[in-house]
């Protein structure tokens, strides 16, 4: 299910068209453009008001470009709002989650696709259950257990659950990629005297780079934006992630929107940058997850 299979697409099929058809084409196109504007507006508005002061935000210049650019909003979000700390926390949580997810899901996929044993199909189905289990299911027991082992209010309280919930998707994507690697490679390496570990790390892992990128991006998006676990498992200022930090900041700056806007821009811009450069791969990973799940 790729998105650019030209030969299957509907392009250049000619429908009979008259002038009334033309009018409806124009109307339809206007709806498409209008919806695009509605999708872009909140982001545009966020970035513009993050650079305005109250007089502009609440005054005559509600939706225009900033007249004078208030970069001080960003400085205040960083220092007073502690966005620098939250950014670092979010970044660390995301990176550690990605590493754990990648390693665990590549290894498990290897065991379930390249090594031969009786229950490997069943085991794969078992992991795929993870695609449908909502995080709500785990919240009370995790809260209780994390409390008992004194891990509440720490970064592991987030990256351990995030990795576990990202696993199913990781295995799903890795299975697709690993199936495409020819088995001759394993056999050649085996004849050269490699054991399964050497085959995995020297032969398979280097060929998994595209999957690593897809799983990495998908996992990044999941944990960068996650709110429920981040709110419940962390109440300590020192370990807040961006979503929780923004919630706090917005409550604190009720009468002044500039710094909140800046904080939100700080949290959103990395995502948008990743999206601009890898939009197709991101979209394909979402499609893959849905079609299988």
């Amino acid at each position: 299910m790729t998105m650019d299979s030209e030969k299957n697409s509907l392009g250049r099929l000619n429908f009979k068209s008259g002038s009334s058809a033309k009018v409806s084409r124009v109307l339809e196109y206007s709806v498409l453009v209008l919806w695009a504007l509605l999708c872009l507006f909140p982001v545009y508005w966020m970035i513009t008001f993050s650079l305005k002061d109250n007089a502009q935000i609440f005054g005559a210049n509600v939706i225009g470009l900033p007249e004078t650019w208030f970069w001080s909003n960003y400085a205040r979000a960083m220092t007073l709002g502690r966005m620098d700390l939250y950014f670092m926390n979010s970044f660390l949580v995301a990176v550690i989650t990605i590493i754990i997810t990648l390693l665990a899901s590549c290894m498990a996929t290897y065991a379930m696709t390249r090594l031969v044993w009786k229950w490997r199909g069943t085991m794969n189905k078992f992991f795929m259950l993870g695609l449908t289990i909502p995080i709500h299911a785990a919240i009370v027991p995790l809260y209780v257990v994390l409390g008992k082992v004194h891990l509440l209010n720490s970064l592991p309280a987030l990256f351990i659950p995030y990795s576990a919930f990202a696993l199913a998707m990781g295995i799903l994507i890795c299975t697709g990629f690993m199936g495409g690697i020819p088995y001759d490679l394993d056999e050649a390496a085996f004849l050269d005297g490699c054991g399964v570990w050497a085959i995995f790390f020297r032969v398979i892992a280097p060929l998994m780079v595209p999957a690593v990128a897809t799983v990495g991006i998908y996992t990044f998006l999941q944990c960068w934006n996650e709110l429920m676990f981040a709110t419940v498992f962390n109440s300590s200022e020192a370990y807040k992630t961006l979503p929780v930090g923004i919630q706090g900041l917005a409550g604190q700056y009720l009468r002044e929107w500039g710094p909140t806007g800046a904080a939100m821009a700080i949290a959103t811009i990395p995502t948008l940058l990743v999206y601009i450069f890898m939009s197709k791969r991101i979209q394909e990973s979402f499609i893959a997850g849905a079609v299988k799940g």
């Binding site: 299957n8 697409s9 498990a108 065991a111 993870g130 929780v244 929107w257 079609v291």
Partner: protein, 291 residues
């Protein structure tokens, strides 16, 4: 190399990290949640076994008001299936016909899905702001002063106002799935339809939509289970208020857990949510098979 002890050992070692995480964080907690749901427990004193009393209380107690919360989330599911999905399908069908800017439209429509729900929620909070929000400012500008209100603070409009950002954010997600499906329709089928003199509408209705039914099924399941589980945007926009007008099961669950220390009851809601999600997924699957 097969069938040796070392080979089996290696299989286990390769599986171990994933299996450990998966069982410890997903599977065991589901079992524990179910277990807790049979207890009256405040997290501090010893849990007291009360069998199904939590479930009975959940459905009968007025002070917990689970049924109104469930009704709200089902209403969201209904709007999602009746408005969001048809609109997403319309977008997907239009965009798959090689319009100028096709790729750009897809990318823009999908963008809200990737933005943090907290950011989206905070932005909509500001759009709805009674004094300075874009919505009221715009209404005043066109002379509809009387229409302005505190959209999220007014009991009559809060639920609708809280639903709109949720529906808006995920249109692009469903559109993307359906678009991929439409692109996968074999060209021969479409050409056969064209030869039989199908109009665009007939082609959509008799060839494309039946062909992408499996994807539509996935979309309906996601829309319904997603509505049942909805949390982030409601939490940011209203946290269930004003006076429980926008309460959904997830916000109720967190309130019971952390404001009222009712761990047993919180688990009961979690279990009900999982059961309802599976039940609805099953029903939707059956409905699609029937046709």
């Amino acid at each position: 190399m097969r069938r040796t002890l070392g080979y089996r050992m290696n299989i286990i070692l390769f599986l171990l990290p994933a299996l450990f995480l998966f069982v410890a964080v997903l599977i065991a907690p589901i079992i524990m949640s179910t277990y807790y749901s049979f207890f009256d427990w405040n997290g501090l004193t010893a849990p007291k076994l009360i069998a199904f009393k939590n479930y009975v209380e959940l459905f009968t107690s007025k002070s917990i008001s689970f049924l109104p919360a469930l009704k709200n989330s089902l209403l969201l599911a209904l709007f999602s299936v009746l408005i969001q999905l048809p609109f997403a399908l319309w977008l997907a069908l239009k965009l798959s016909k090689h319009l100028p800017g096709e790729r750009a439209f897809i990318s823009i429509y999908f963008m809200p899905v990737l933005i943090s729900t907290v950011v989206i929620g905070q932005l909509w909070l500001k759009i709805y702001n009674p004094d300075y929000g874009v919505l009221n400012v715009a209404l005043r500008a066109v002379g509809l002063e009387s229409w302005t209100r505190s959209w999220l603070g007014d009991k009559t409009t809060a639920l609708g106002a809280a639903f709109i950002p949720t529906l808006w954010q995920y249109v692009g997600y469903h559109m993307l799935l359906m678009y991929a499906g439409v692109k996968g329709v074999p060209r021969e089928l479409l050409e056969a339809g064209m030869l039989d003199g199908c109009t665009e509408k007939q082609l959509n209705r008799h060839i494309i939509i039946p062909y992408i039914k499996p994807i539509l099924r996935v979309s309906v399941i996601f829309a319904v289970t997603g509505s049942l589980k909805s949390f982030d945007l409601i939490y940011v926009l209203t946290n269930g208020g004003p006076v429980h007008a926008t309460e959904v099961p997830s916000t109720l669950m967190l309130n019971l857990l952390f404001l009222r220390n009712r761990y047993g009851m919180g688990s009961t809601i979690a279990v009900m949510l999982i059961l309802l999600c599976f039940l609805f997924a099953l029903l939707i699957n059956l409905a699609f098979k029937e046709e």
